[in-house]
Amino acid sequence: MLEVSNLNVYYGQSRILEDVVITVPKGKVTCLLGRNGVGKTTLLKALMGVLKVRSGSISYAGQNITSWLPHKRARAGIAQVPQGRGIFPYLTVAENLELGLEAASARRGQAMEEMYGQFPILSTFARRMAGTLSGGQQQQLALARALISQPKLLLLDEPTEGIQPSIVLEIEELLISLKQRSNLTILLVEQYLDFALAVADYCYVMEHGSIVMRGDPAQITRDQASEYITV
């Protein structure tokens, strides 16, 4: 589904990503683990087209999308839940959700109903400014906004960050059920090992801008992982 080869990304002179190679197979949940500042979010931004790539290539569904603008990638079926949620604080919850449909051809009314069914809290607060929601509610809004376009590839940047444990469990259940009933492909960036291992089919571990470890969740043991992330 997504092939990243020898990707290099710089901020000015500093090299943030060094020859990153990852593969995200169709219909699977691939997880990217690592501490703060190792380049996980930078990689997602490069995949979404928000950051320019110095060298290397990104191929998605058989097409080389390395030079595509973000909106073109979104229309091709890539959606993201960015770090910090990235909701529009001065738009209503309903407007935020409707913006998720910009990239899709789905029927508006039906798609909205579906999302309100999945996230009842959003229906309750539909007319409120999204900026007045709590962190957890904003996270659910960001997730719903990404899912409403029925993407083929979903990029999730630390969906559990700053979220209470009960909602983490809900998100976990949601991701597992999504994986089972649709053939959505997910690239998940996480620091929370238990959550990652529960939903992932395959894991990559990053350190200093490079992939240092890879394998099935069963192969990534706490001992090994603890060298690179806090468990």
Binding site: H71, A74, P89, Y90, E102, A103
Partner: protein, 340 residues
């Protein structure tokens, strides 16, 4: 930083570098009923002054609406905005020269009504071109934008001088807009003023419907709040920038068309109004349309009242002092939003 900018511009005005609408407003403020000394105001004087304030506010609002887009939403300091007003005014003049003979003469008013949307399109198109060829390369560089657009403004002024000549030209107002409405003896509401108030109401309603009820408007608000995220949702942000700037410029054109009702027009028409437009947008709170409306009305009413109590120039000085004090107290303007 914006409050600072307005202060600098304001002081530059005190020093007499640019004439202001507030001082150029004899047509707005009729003081005839106040020639004799009286204690207090009679009802019709009060109503008359309230109307003058509203009228001045509506002119201020009309010239500020466009800036609320380019400056308020996009944070682009477009010094050529005044020249878009001028373009709108000359478009109206030109249409009258060309079309009036065929459409019932200059005072028939049909050409004037047609010229309002045409001025919107002409100035909007010019704005679209300016955004695409110049301003887009200067995003995030306010000082460069300011200087470059100032240069564009000068070029447009000279162009107008070359085409239409340096002296002011006059657009003949529609016959049905001459005279006024007199609900009370001593209270006269000129039809031209009422027309401008009506035009502002229509513009505000249209902008509201566009921003809050259309998909294109929603996209625009999304891009202005968070460009990066809007892009990743599938919105072509470059196109939205162009459209936003074009709409802002087009509204300046409408203002220019309406200003032909008030007085003669010349190549420097826009420079007289640009400062007040920035003042209104900053006082209202950058990016907040309700703030812009409130600020225009407040400045209009305060200016009229203070002029009445003092003199035209002292009244203007007092308005500026009040605005500066207010911005020291609330730098984000009248209407500021909060979120978690």
């Amino acid at each position: 930083m914006l409050a600072k900018l307005v202060q600098i511009i304001t002081w530059a005005n005190f020093a007499g570098f640019s004439p202001l609408i507030l001082s150029r407003s004899p047509v707005l403020v009729t003081r005839s009923s106040l020639t004799d000394e009286k204690e207090g105001l009679t009802l019709d004087e009060l109503l008359s002054q309230a109307f003058n304030g509203l009228s001045l506010g509506s002119v201020l609002l009309l010239i500020s609406l466009g800036l609320a887009f380019s400056f308020g939403l996009m944070n682009v300091i477009n010094m050529a905005h005044g020249e878009f007003i001028m373009v709108g005014a000359y478009t109206t003049y030109l249409l009258q020269q060309i079309l009036a003979p065929a459409l019932g003469g200059v005072s028939g008013g049909l050409t004037f009504l047609i010229s309002i949307p045409v001025a919107f399109l002409a100035a909007g198109l010019l704005g679209f071109l300016l955004e695409n060829t110049l301003i887009r390369f200067l995003y995030g560089r306010p000082l460069d934008t300011l200087l470059a657009t100032w240069g564009v403004g000068l070029v447009l002024q000279q162009l107008a001088r070359t085409i239409f000549g340096a002296p002011n030209v006059q657009v003949v107002s529609p016959g049905w807009l001459s005279g006024g409405f007199s609900p009370l003896p001593g209270l006269n509401l000129p039809y031209k003023r009422l027309f401008i108030i009506g035009l502002v109401l229509i513009c505000v309603a249209a902008i509201y419907l566009y921003l809050y009820r259309s998909r294109s408007g929603r996209r625009m608000r999304a891009v202005m709040q968070n460009r990066e995220i809007a892009g990743t949702l599938g919105i072509a942000t470059r196109r939205v920038d162009g459209i936003t700037f074009a709409i802002g410029s087009g509204l300046a054109g409408v203002a220019g068309s309406a200003l032909t009702l008030i007085g003669p027009i010349g190549p420097t028409l826009g420079t007289n109004y640009i400062v007040d437009a920035f003042l209104v947008v900053v006082l209202g709170g950058v990016g907040r349309l309700p703030g812009t409306i409130l600020a225009a009305l407040l400045i209009g009413v305060f200016n009229t009242l203070l002029e009445l109590q003092t003199s035209a120039s002292i009244g203007k000085v007092l308005v500026f002092v009040l605005v500066i004090i207010f911005l020291q107290w609330k730098p984000r303007g009248l209407v500021a939003l909060r979120s978690r």
